[in-house]
């Protein structure tokens, strides 16, 4: 344990300066006092390791490790450090949503080395905050760096960072970038550009992230140089994991086209080359979405793998399955049927029931501005911002009970893993499944790649998460959907009638024809299942319409619909039509 007396003394000092630190930003700022950790052990328990301070956007807290502060001899910079941490909360990144957007834009600027984004984002935010505090508030941010930097801290990369501060604050060469042997004209030129970037984008910082990342790219390109540089400045990284624990930040699946346009190399701009290339860029954007990797409907979404990577940078503890569920759900949402409108006459709609805290991730329309303003003059999501909750009449009278739906998806070797590649079958199934749930029906989902393996929900269910978790899983075994899977739900007549949708391709005919080694053929099972289900049966075939004509006629005769899709995007059309026909009420 470090000098306990010193630590206690520092605690008293820093506590006393906390109100003043808040004043540096906003006299009306309401932010909880930092969590003061008196030892490394306590800091570790709060999740703070490697640095002396950190912020948590999820609960709007600052965590300070006073033992580390004492060890590093920066007890005297309470205002600087505290004001800096507050800056992360109210200036940049400020909230989970902007944090995610910024990270995503920075990732654009670091193609192939996206894993550097959290550090780059942290340093970018530091520049913006420190420059304001040093130049406007006249705090001694430069002294903090002087105190923390050691001979060993410096790499070419860190020299660039410190040189940039020297440019920003008109310091002499070597005041911050003390290791002169690493200085170069290249670093000077880049630092000068970075300094002007920080100045230009201080108000509009979200738009400067891409340029910032591109400037840093060459310094972080090699794994080893990056790892070394990061290790040496670990103590300064206070916002890399700012989003830890954040759940369900919506709106991130869509491609950020504006952000993409901001991936500009300032060196190129400075050389006057940018204009000449504007045309080229236009071109590449035409074919463009490819370059951006647009996926899904209108090529308007980022790929699932990229989405998971990004969201795990936002929240390193994010659960992959939960993310992938959210991904397909978010893309499915615009295509779902409307919620059934209740038509009971004597019940008033939407009874206001009370207030809840509005947080990032909640829809902006839900904010109750009046109540929020009453709560506090400054609006802080998750803290002072309020939303009203409504109760609805639970005495719903649904005039017509919708049929359940069974969704079987071919998950054989020819299908791609929906976690890595955008999957149209999974999107289609999500749309149908969620529409059915909205309409009040139950859904059974089944992935099947047979011979081999299958995965299905526990019968017909109404739990959205369970359904999505099943639909977004992956098998990659066998060659087709196994007809045998129809036995469990439909060998006997189920309690409630059900539609059957099977998404597969031509290989289903091999499956239908294959030897069951029992008396009953797959054809017979398919026929019985449909009869027992009592609803529509549709085979969605990824195939040319005239293929296997005789076998298709045989399916028709049993009562199966066969819906051809020749490209996967047509699956979306099918899902929309199916949902509208079966689950939308007028």
């Amino acid at each position: 344990m470090h000098n306990q007396f010193e630590i206690e003394k520092t605690l008293a000092l820093w506590k006393s300066l906390w109100p003043q630190a808040k004043l540096e930003w906003n006299p009306l700022l309401r932010l909880q006092e930092p969590i003061w950790c008196l030892s490394h052990q306590e800091a570790k328990e709060e999740g703070l390791t490697g640095s002396f301070a950190m912020i948590r956007l999820t609960d709007h807290r600052i965590v300070i490790n006073l033992e580390e502060i004492v060890e590093r001899h920066i007890e005297g910079y309470a205002l600087e450090v505290l004001a800096h941490e507050i800056g992360h909360h109210i200036f940049t990144p400020a909230n989970l949503y902007d944090n995610a957007i910024l990270l995503n834009r920075i990732r654009f600027g670091l193609p192939g080395i996206e894993n550097r984004a959290p550090m780059v984002s942290n340093l970018y935010a530091d520049f913006l905050i420190n420059d304001k505090l040093q130049r406007v508030n006249k705090l001694s941010m430069s002294e903090v760096y002087k105190a923390i930097n050691t001979e060993d801290t410096f790499t070419e990369f860190w020299t660039l960072m410190m040189r940039t501060y020297e440019y920003l604050w008109r310091l002499n060469r070597g005041e911050l970038a003390t290791k002169l042997s690493l200085h170069s004209k290249k670093i000077d030129a880049d630092a000068s550009l970075l300094a002007s970037l920080i100045r230009s984008y201080s108000k509009d910082w979200i738009h400067g992230g891409g340029r910032f990342a591109v400037m840093l790219y060459p310094y972080l390109m090699e794994d080893q140089t990056f790892n070394e540089a990061r290790k040496k400045i670990l103590v300064l990284l206070d916002a890399e994991d700012a989003g830890l624990g954040a759940m369900d930040i919506s709106g991130m699946t869509e491609l950020d086209l504006e952000g993409y346009d901001e991936i500009i190399d300032m060196r190129k701009e400075a050389l006057g080359l940018a204009d000449g290339d504007a045309e080229k860029k236009e071109d590449s954007l035409g074919s463009g979405q490819n370059k951006l990797g647009g996926h899904g409907p209108r090529n308007g979404y980022m790929g699932p793998g990229n989405y998971i990577d990004l969201m795990k940078q936002v929240n390193p503890k994010a659960d992959e399955q939960r993310l992938i569920n959210a991904y397909y759900k978010e893309i499915a949402l615009p295509h779902l049927i409307d919620f059934p409108i209740e038509t009971s006459e004597n019940v008033s709609l939407n009874l206001p029931e009370g207030l809840e805290t509005w947080d990032i991730g909640d829809a902006i329309e839900e904010v109750d501005w009046l109540q929020s303003a009453i709560q506090s003059p400054s609006l802080i999501p998750g803290l002072t911002m309020q939303k009203r909750t409504y109760g609805s009449d639970s005495d719903n009278e649904v005039s017509e009970s919708p049929l359940n739906v069974y969704i079987g998806i071919d998950c054989s070797g020819s299908m791609m893993n929906p976690k890595h590649n955008f999957s149209w079958p999974v999107l289609a199934a999500t749309i149908i499944g969620l529409s059915a749930l909205r309409a009040g029906a139950s859904v059974m989902g089944c992935l099947s790649g047979e011979p081999g393996s299958y995965l299905e929900t526990n019968g017909f269910i109404t739990d959205e998460t369970d359904l999505l978790t099943t639909l977004t899983s992956y098998l990659g075994t066998g060659y087709a959907y196994g007809i045998e899977r129809l036995r469990k739900p439909f060998e006997e007549k189920p309690n409630k009638k059900s539609h059957i949708v099977i998404v597969t391709d031509n290989d289903i005919f091999s499956m239908l024809e294959s030897d069951t080694q029992t008396e009953q053929t797959h054809w017979e099972l398919a026929e019985i299942a449909l009869k027992n289900a009592g609803g529509h049966g549709t085979m969605v075939l990824h195939s040319q319409p005239d293929y296997n004509k005789d076998l298709v006629i045989r399916l028709h005769k049993m009562g199966w619909n066969v819906y051809y899709v020749t490209n996967e995007a047509e699956l979306l059309k099918f899902a929309l039509e199916f949902s509208q026909q079966n689950y939308a009420y007028v």
């Binding site: 440019y167 060469r173 000077d188 002007s196 060459p218 390109m221 400075a270």
Partner: protein, 193 residues
């Protein structure tokens, strides 16, 4: 206030009235009378208001001066109107180089308004002038002053960026090409290595 304080002079440049942003009458009708402006400046710097003979480029040279360069010169006359340069007769003979050499080198890389709107460019103009007139900025030693100027020098930075940008583009091109399938198919190998 001490003389030749960079911060003070930068502040002065940044207050440059927009009038000085105008082009030259050599180029447009309603432009500033550049020659008159230069002569006035010569007079205030030298402190000799009766002087009528000034070092001005010849006709052909004047014609070759571009618009951005003229505007930089006009802005610099505002800088030279600062009291630190009044009666600084030792600087008089350096002005020609400052206007027609230093600013000529820099102006391709600095848009005229940046000399005023951008702190760093304003400082560059101040330092270019001080250096040209062999004046040491207040509180700086020669090494410091030289380093700060070279850190801000637009022409120099342009050249460095050109090199580093080219080198970086080349590396990216190589990396891209290395990922190309046509490179990965390689060519016949004839023996084990």
């Amino acid at each position: 206030m001490s003389k030749y304080d960079v911060f003070e002079l930068v502040t002065h440049v940044r207050k440059c009235p927009e009038l000085f942003f105008k082009s030259s009458s050599f180029l447009v009708k309603e432009g500033l009378n550049s020659i008159a402006l230069l002569c006035d400046t010569y007079r205030t710097v030298s402190g000799n208001f009766l002087n009528t003979v000034f070092k001005i480029p010849s006709g052909d040279h004047l014609k070759a001066i571009g618009e951005n360069h003229w505007r930089a010169i006009h802005i610099s006359t505002w800088l030279l109107s600062h009291q630190d340069f009044k009666n600084a007769s030792f600087a008089e003979e350096k002005l020609y180089d400052f206007w027609f050499e230093e600013l000529r080198h820099a102006s391709p890389y600095v848009k005229f308004n940046e000399w005023v709107s951008d702190d760093e460019r304003a400082e560059e103009m101040v330092r270019l002038l001080l250096n040209c007139c062999q004046i040491l900025p207040n509180g700086e030693n020669p090494e410091e002053a030289a380093d700060k100027l070279s850190s801000l020098n637009s022409a120099e930075r342009h050249n460095v960026l050109k090199k580093s940008y080219k080198a970086n583009e080349r590396i990216m091109d190589i990396k891209r090409q290395m990922e190309e399938k046509r490179a990965r198919e390689a060519a016949n190998t004839y023996g084990r290595e």
